[in-house]
Symmetry: C2
Subunit: 328 residues, 2 copies
């Protein structure tokens, strides 16, 4: 195995070549120009946030994309990221090379740069690959979209489709059987979330609140409700579903319960947001211009908490709202 | 064990209360005003960067201080930090509480704030506590002090004393015996490095290059030499030593070899910097004003690499320059 500095020079410095203040990773710190920024940090741990058998290239992309998704939900344009990796004991150089390929592909796709970071290795056998990404975004004149701006009467929207990542994980683990094409699609939704970077950038000044869906639609709507001091009603029959998810619902004994499950699955990395009813045309335009599907799925009301309502207007029981790393 | 959100609310949100853009950790991201910033990121892994038996409060401080030290070496004033923690499986709430106490004490001492972060837990038994800190500093008008500005003829300086942390670790592990007072002092130097935040802030406009000593004096001088495309001569008899280190040198069979070892130990978190000879008075003043000892230990010359020279001017062999996480 090559040494630490060679690894940085060979695999990581090229990823920082386009960012002046990264100094080719040859200094102790990076320097950033005076910009109003939004910063987010998400950790990924093997076995918790990705599977041991997932390709290191897809893991690299996921680490970037969960952070890109956070910035998108805040209406920020991504600039670059700081990367911290703790590799397993005895990691092979090819593994790091493959990880760097994933970073490069997503840097090109999302026009971002590596800015700085730290690389080290475990000394305990079996300790998992741990990845920490801190991502920096620039704000437009409309400022950051908070979780706390939703007001009674606002519409509730979500991008893309709901529950696919959870079904994808279940499909990969063999817990649910799908037709081959559906399995491929759902697995991709779990392994390579598509952060809604363009849509997020277009929502500034229109959305009253926003969050990306990582804990699950219901749980994340709960975060908006809590921070905005409102309640949120979501209409189960308005939830946007992929063909694959639709096929699963159709086979379910209890369609409402199945919808509730989709609304509880995490890792979708869609944007859940609210906007005043006067902004319906602006939201539609943002969706069209950025070629991102957006569905109106609910309404903000006075009160507390989140209700999932059937077509008949009856509350649907939601068993489990999101994943808690410390529950037990 | 309380849930993830309760942990954040109870232990971490209070640490972010003073920073407006942290939104009490109640949003997906933090927002920072338009400032010219320096950003650094350092990972700490249990067993690699701190010992399993070190108190979680001292570990919290070390995680902050290694990053504060990076900012100090760049001439930046620390503002705040993003914190990522991966706790061991089954971590107790008291452990997290103790960790938060350490953060609070250092936040007060160094006038910084928690700005954002992420907290999760391992699902593999025996996987170590892993801490990722990304720290943000503000730059004065003199800009960032790079590694690359040293020029032939410059003086080489170092703050504080050299090799204490390495001796401290050896003392803690029972590999070297010291008098009780010396052991206590050295252990403190290993477990609670004192980042030279004030001195760093006073060196802007005077130092031509700078780095903090984490890999070891010789190795870090090597980083400056490489980035500045110069050679560095260090005079062994000018190395500033603590009383404890001095007592160890006096007992050594080969004093030069022992000095070389001190100059190879990592984790000192002193500032190693260069400045033109015309700035000697400015450096002296910076040292006085910030009450930080500074020793002139060498000179920058044309060429490549770092030489440790005896009082007679003969090169002293240096066995091992710094620690490589991937060597093996």
């Amino acid at each position: 195995m090559t040494g630490e500095f060679d690894i940085i020079r060979k695999y990581f410095a090229p990823l920082a070549a386009d960012f002046d203040g990264a100094f080719n990773l040859g200094d102790d710190a990076a320097s950033l120009p005076a910009l109003e920024t939004v910063i987010t940090k998400d950790l990924l741990v093997e076995g918790v946030h990705f599977r041991a058998r997932d390709s290191r290239s897809s893991v690299a992309k996921k680490a970037l994309r969960v952070n890109l998704s956070d910035l998108a939900a805040k209406g920020a344009r991504p600039l670059g990221y700081f990367l911290g990796c703790v590799w397993p004991l005895g990691v092979k150089e090819e593994t790091i090379a493959e990880f760097a390929v994933g970073l490069r592909e997503d840097q090109d796709q999302f026009k971002i740069s590596l800015i700085g970071g730290d690389t080290t290795a475990h000394i305990v056998k079996g300790a998992p690959l741990t990845i920490s990404v801190t991502m920096i975004g620039a704000l437009g004149s409309a400022g950051m979209i908070r979780r706390s701006g939703a007001a009674p009467g606002d519409d509730v929207y979500v991008s893309g489709s709901i529950g696919d990542a959870g079904l994808g994980l279940a499909a990969l683990n063999g817990e649910i059987k799908f037709a081959a094409a559906h399995k491929l699609y759902l697995a991709g939704r779990y392994q390579s979330p598509s952060p809604r970077v363009s849509l997020g950038g277009a929502l500034g000044g229109h959305a009253s609140s926003s969050i990306d869906i990582s804990d699950g639609l219901i749980a994340d709507a709960g975060h908006i409700a809590e921070q905005s001091k409102v309640a949120i009603d979501i209409f189960a029959d308005k939830l946007p579903l992929s063909d694959a998810a639709q096929s699963w619902i159709e086979k379910a004994d209890d369609a409402d319960a199945a919808l509730a499950q989709l609304a509880s699955f995490g890792d979708d990395y869609e944007i859940l947001f609210t906007a005043p009813a006067t902004r319906r045309r602006s939201v539609e335009l943002a969706s069209q211009v950025t070629k991102t599907p957006v569905a109106r799925i609910g309404t903000v009301v006075r009160g507390k908490g989140v209700r999932l309502l059937s077509a008949a207007g009856a509350p649907i029981a939601v068993a489990r709202a999101g994943f808690d790393h410390f529950a037990g």
